[in-house]
Amino acid sequence: MRELPADAGRPMGPPRVVPYRFDLSALVRRSVASLYSHLVTRPTGQALRYGIERQIADLGAPCLSVLDFSEVVVLDYSCADETVAKLIQRYRREDRPADAYLIARGVGERHRDMIEAVLARHGLALVAEVDGVGFTLLGELPALEREVWAAVERLAMASAADVATLVDAPEDALAAALDSLASHRVVLRRDEPVPVYCSLTSLLMAG
């Protein structure tokens, strides 16, 4: 990736979204009948997902939902599939119930394999703050899309032309990569005269 030009990035502010944090460990205690300390089994994952969906629906506004894994000790594949993969799928669909974006925080090494496995299984992606790594893009996306995502992260808000200042690729390829990232909902697209894309982490910080 190239160096960031001094005037890179967009002058206008980011769009308004409501950041909303879900402490998954606490939420599972509210969402399922028993007090479970680990995120295991499909019914637990389903209960958790329904709880998150309900709260997103109650907000009634575009929202950036933070899935906080920091208190989660054990996360199994079944629960990760129900909580993470199916939640992302639900808000990726055209008929999504709300305009929600998801971001994960507190992801440790003990969670990462499970999250990456379910993302790969469904061809999904997720922005996550991973212990010792910082914000990164999880999921099996092509190298160019990963590079473009990193560029948007640096710029906070960017068009394809802005990204071209950092990534050496034809502008139409960059535009396609940005649209793919937007369709994965790992960046937020704004349809201005020229489409611009916002990084989820910048929206998180702005909130």
Binding site: S34, Y36, S37, H38, V40, T41, R42, P43, T44, V73, V74, L75, D76, Y77, S78, D81, E82, A85, K86, G108, E109, R110, D113, M114, A117, V118, R121, H122
Partner: protein
């Protein structure tokens, strides 16, 4: 009376002898003679419960003549074997209480699995103990040791989600000094439900036609991640277990119906697939995780 003599060593390698003897028994009440049993692991214990339940179906409870070895009966007591066996067998011979025979080094006693709540209970109970054993005794890095609970959770969920019956799980650490020169953790999970073929038949049998069998069903689930559900998110558990256990140089085998499939490490000589075994209901899973070899990454 049908007397079935148990092998001296009750473990995965001798399970087929037991099933063969059960299949070949005549009419009348069965007596399982365990007097000469000098070694038993979690798989062997669950196997004994399973054959006891099958032998008692539709007839009188079988008899179980307990091992003469005090060491074995003491271990059976620590694993909670007798309380489960008493429901399935008429027990004879010396029994010990769990407190006798010193401090318990059991990782997970025989635990029934009937519901998702039981799976939570297993993970709650075993996670901290497993962390300590895997990191301190088997030299697993902490992030990998956490996955032990994930493995347990997924194999136990297999019973609840697919077998249509109850099952059991048990796990223990051993020093396989002669066999491997290292410590191992053995996980055994068994049920007496519909088996892999029964679970998958409705959704997948037609596609395989005449080739459909226990072996094909096992391969479909274990290698290709097929399940009876159309949800593509299903079926990850066994596949991920296979990958994890492979990464750790361990062994995983699943016997169901008349076949057994295994992922075999270089320290074991089991065949990757066995067919035409004596029929037995449900699924019997054995996972062996060896201590990290010196110099392992």
């Amino acid at each position: 009376m049908n007397v079935i003599h148990l092998p001296g060593s009750l473990e995965e390698r001798t399970f087929d002898q037991l099933v063969q003897a059960l299949a070949g028994r005549g009419e009348g009440r069965a007596l399982f003679d365990a007097r000469r049993v000098h070694w038993v692991d979690p798989y062997g214990m669950l196997a004994l419960l399973a054959v006891g339940e099958v032998a008692g179906r539709g007839g009188e409870r079988p008899l179980l003549q307990l091992p003469e070895s005090a060491e074995v009966t003491s271990y059976l007591a620590r694993m909670g074997f007798f309380e489960h066996a008493a429901e399935l067998f008429e027990l004879h011979g010396p029994r010990r209480r769990a407190g006798e025979g010193g401090h318990s080094d059991v990782l997970l006693e025989i635990t029934p699995v009937r519901s998702h709540a039981d799976v939570h209970a297993v993970v709650d109970r075993v996670n901290e103990r497993a962390q300590a054993i895997l990191t301190r005794q088997l030299d697993y890095p902490s992030r990998e040791a956490f996955q032990f609970s994930v493995i347990l959770s997924e194999v136990c969920q297999n019973i609840v989600e697919h077998s249509g019956a109850h099952g059991w799980v048990a796990t223990q650490t051993y020093n396989w000094a002669r066999r491997l020169g290292r410590k191992v953790v053995v996980i055994a999970v068994m049920d007496l439900g519909v088996g892999f073929r029964g679970s998958l038949s409705g959704e997948h049998a037609a596609r395989y036609g005449d080739r459909w069998s226990d072996a094909v069903a096992l391969e479909a689930a274990f290698i290709h991640g097929l399940t009876r559900f159309r949800d593509p998110g299903r079926g990850q558990g066994l596949q991920q277990i296979r990958k994890l256990v492979g990464r750790w140089g361990g062994k995983v085998s699943i016997r169901s119906g008349t076949a057994r499939i295994a992922q075999v490490p270089d320290w074991d000589d089991a065949p990757p697939m066995e067919e035409r075994l004596a029929p037995f209901p449900g699924a019997q899973i054995c996972i062996v995780l060896p201590a990290r070899a010196e110099g392992a990454a």
